[in-house]
């Protein structure tokens, strides 16, 4: 699923197509037009939705937090049980 926006130098600008709309929205249109022109330099903008679900791997962070919490306790355990460490 993708949407493709193309803009070439040959295409008529929105300003020349519908000047009456442009007049009322000058402040909004100017940045949009600038963005479109910038995009035109790289010929097209492609927006694609990932086909796989986005999975955030929390396991590593949780484990590290737990390890930090247990560190002092585990250090004592190792030091106090020299016979098996």
């Amino acid at each position: 699923m993708s949407k493709r926006y193309e803009w070439t130098a040959a295409s008529p600008s929105p300003r020349s197509v519908r000047p009456e709309l442009v007049e009322g929205r000058r402040t909004l249109r100017a940045p949009v037009a600038a963005a479109l022109l910038a995009a035109a330099a790289s010929s097209c903008v492609t927006v694609e939705a990932p086909d796989k679900p986005i999975v955030i791997e929390l396991n590593v962070n949780i484990r590290q937090e737990v390890i930090y919490r247990l560190a002092a306790d585990a250090k004592n355990t190792v030091e106090e049980n020299e016979d098996i460490f």
Binding site: I67, L70, I84, F85
Partner: protein, 130 residues
């Protein structure tokens, strides 16, 4: 009179003996066979908090390792429960500390699973180790 004094001395000896017996577990030393295997690099500290045989295994080495690991597991289980953590979490944390506590010349397992000899510098440890 003499009998009373003897009894007092005997009582004092029993009390002293008891104190030594109580203090002994904290000061317990490694079994000589384990200490020798460790010094020879035949056994090493694994990432998961347990001891492993380095190189070729023999029944004697495996017996030492199994004995230590059973004791460690029981200790980890007890401590993990007290700290409200899982056995694996506690064991891994203890592994971080046990690897850090190795002496130069002793073996430990690097994060890639390979056996390394502890040098004078810090050991290679799991990125999660504190």
């Amino acid at each position: 009179m003499l009998k009373t004094r003897t009894r007092l001395i005997a009582a004092a000896l029993v009390v002293a003996g008891g104190a030594i017996a109580l203090a002994t577990p904290a000061l317990a030393q490694r079994d000589p066979a384990y200490a020798a295997a460790r010094a020879a690099g035949q056994v090493g500290e694994k990432i998961d908090g347990y001891l492993g045989v380095v190189g070729a295994s023999t029944p004697a080495l495996q017996a030492i390792v199994n004995d230590i690991n059973i004791k460690r597991r029981a200790l980890y289980a007890q401590k993990a429960q007290a700290a409200n953590a899982t056995l694996d979490e506690y064991a891994l944390t203890a592994g971080c500390q046990a690897i850090l506590a190795t002496k130069p010349g002793e073996k430990y397992q690097a994060p890639d699973g390979s056996w390394q000899t502890r040098g004078s510098g810090p050991p290679q440890r799991d990125a999660r180790c504190p």
